[in-house]
């Protein structure tokens, strides 16, 4: 079988500019920047949240943006259909969420099930004043009524396509690639 066709959605330059645009948009949509908390979804959402926090710190407030990480594995609704994810990552949140404007940060928004699980998990940690959703790529294909407040890039995809996000910290490069017809569960980066 020939390798699935692969197209570049964002190269390193566009990746950086997209994050800056997202950071601006997050600040713009946060009434009181002092209440801002960025929570990345494991794995690549955590790195993206760190990048966004760095941009926000230098661009505006100057203050360190509190960050957290969320592993939603234990909140998934598909343990029976896909089996347990062998390794569950750590969840940690920066202090009380009460009165905070929490932004969930993830790499790709697809079915919306991960975000549903993240909302459930956040609710077990406290009651933020508001929760927003920022994603690097919105690839459509929603199975739940969930939408992002901040989208870096919107891509038209078919269900069998795969969107791969690379971040320098984990993968040695910044890029978003679209693999046509690769199959959603075809052994992508976890």
């Amino acid at each position: 079988m020939p390798p699935a066709p692969r197209t570049l959605v964002l190269d390193a330059g566009a990746f950086g500019r997209t994050l800056e645009k997202m950071a601006q948009s997050i600040l713009h949509q946060t009434q009181d920047p002092r209440t801002l908390v960025l929570v990345g979804i494991q794995r690549r959402g955590v790195e993206l949240a760190a990048r966004l926090a760095a941009v926000i710190t230098t661009a505006g407030t100057g203050a360190e943006v509190p960050r957290g990480a969320l592993d939603i594995t234990l909140y998934r609704d598909d343990l029976e259909t896909v089996g347990p994810k062998p390794l569950v990552g750590p969840t940690h949140l920066p202090g009380e969420l009460e009165g905070r404007h929490v932004w969930i940060v993830d790499d790709v928004l697809f079915t919306g099930r991960t975000v549903r699980a993240a909302l459930d998990e956040l609710a077990d940690f406290g009651r933020p004043a508001r929760i927003g959703l920022a994603v690097l790529v919105d690839r459509g294909g929603r199975e739940l009524p969930i939408q992002a407040d901040v989208v870096g890039a919107a891509v038209q995809t078919a269900p069998a396509d795969r969107v791969e996000v690379f971040v320098a910290e984990l993968d040695g490069k910044d890029a978003v690639e679209l693999v046509r017809g690769a199959g959603v569960s075809g052994g992508g980066k976890a």
């Binding site: 690549r44 592993d71 234990l74 347990p84 998990e121 052994g187 992508g188 980066k189 976890a190």
Partner: protein, 319 residues
């Protein structure tokens, strides 16, 4: 994932299986630190804790693990059940299964009871101690507790006391050997199994030698009924010869990590000053017990082999 339907012992698990369980237990430690100590992973699962022997710690630990994963649990103690009326093990379990349960955690006085049950019912079976055979979750929590402090590979671990009758000792020996530790046992000749050297285990008959050699001591409980059966002359005699005392540890060339599966007989197998001392991790073992049991329940609940491949491939960038 190589884990099958049941967790019966550590003897037949690979090092990879053991590490998977230990690594899975790590994030579960954090769940017990949360204000809301609960995740929905096993919501809707029904688990029966079937205890044919008295147990406080293990049963409560399993029950916390189950509840923190949102499973529904029922406790059956043999003293207050139809077992008293002469019902056999399989009939008890089949009746439970007819009520549509998903898992059974079993503690039984006969070696092999967990396997016997696992072969006859469709639910997942977890061995919570079967006779003198194994107590796998205790072995796992001991491994996790040692690994919190030092790498297991290369560690010299000595199990002290009544190894002959101990399922905890057996699970420890299998687990430690598979993960690359050096293992020894120490105790009166009457309480050490014949031919245990054949497993690759060193034998000490003097506690002083064991303490001089080891990095880790796992001190077993001395059961009172052993005196009545003539294995040892008296508790005082045992403490004098084999007791893990502060004076003995102070002569050791290095600090030893002290484990004990509980419940302790202070002043029999272990000195109170050691049990409560700075190198005792006995309460860490109890804390880790909940996390390790959550990991086992979680992995078995979803661990249908035909789905393991799909689980490996899932994720990607797509959510």
């Amino acid at each position: 994932m190589a884990l099958g339907k049941d967790l019966l012992g550590l003897e037949h698990l690979t090092a990879e299986d053991l590490l998977l369980i230990l690594d899975t237990a790590e994030p579960f430690k954090e769940v017990s630190e949360r204000a809301i100590k609960k995740v929905p992973a096993l919501r809707g699962k029904t688990i029966v804790n079937l205890f044919f022997e008295a147990s406080t710690r293990t049963r409560i630990s399993f029950e916390f693990a189950e509840k923190r994963l949102s499973a529904d649990t029922v406790n059956v103690a043999s003293s207050a059940s139809s077992v008293q009326k002469g019902e056999n093990l399989v009939d008890t379990a089949r009746n439970l299964e007819a009520m549509k349960i998903d898992m059974v955690v079993i503690r039984h006085g006969s070696s092999g009871a967990a396997r016997f049950l696992g072969e006859r019912i469709a639910s997942n079976v977890i061995n919570a101690g079967d006779g003198k055979h194994e107590h796998p979750t205790q072995g796992l929590l001991d491994l996790l507790t040692i690994r919190d402090r030092r790498p297991i590979a290369g560690t010299k671990a000595c199990i002290v006391g009544d190894v002959l009758h101990s399922r905890v000792a057996r699970s420890n020996i299998w687990g430690l050997l598979k993960l690359g530790a050096e293992v020894a046992v120490c105790g009166p000749k009457s309480l050490l199994p014949l031919g245990i050297e054949g497993l690759g285990v060193r034998v000490f008959h003097r506690i002083e030698e064991a303490i001089a050699w080891a990095d880790v001591l796992n001190v077993l409980r001395l059961q009172m009924e052993r005196m009545q059966s003539g294995y040892i002359p008296s508790q005082r005699e045992y403490y004098r010869v084999f007791g893990v005392t502060l004076e003995r540890l102070e002569r050791a060339p290095r600090d030893l990590l002290i484990l004990h599966p509980g419940p302790m007989n202070r002043g029999v197998e272990i000195d109170s000053r050691v049990a409560d001392g700075p190198h005792s991790v006995i309460l860490d073992q109890v804390t880790n017990g909940v996390a390790v049991r959550m990991a086992v329940l979680y992995l078995l609940a979803g661990g249908r082999p035909e789905l393991a491949e799909a689980a490996k491939g899932g994720g990607g960038g797509d959510h």
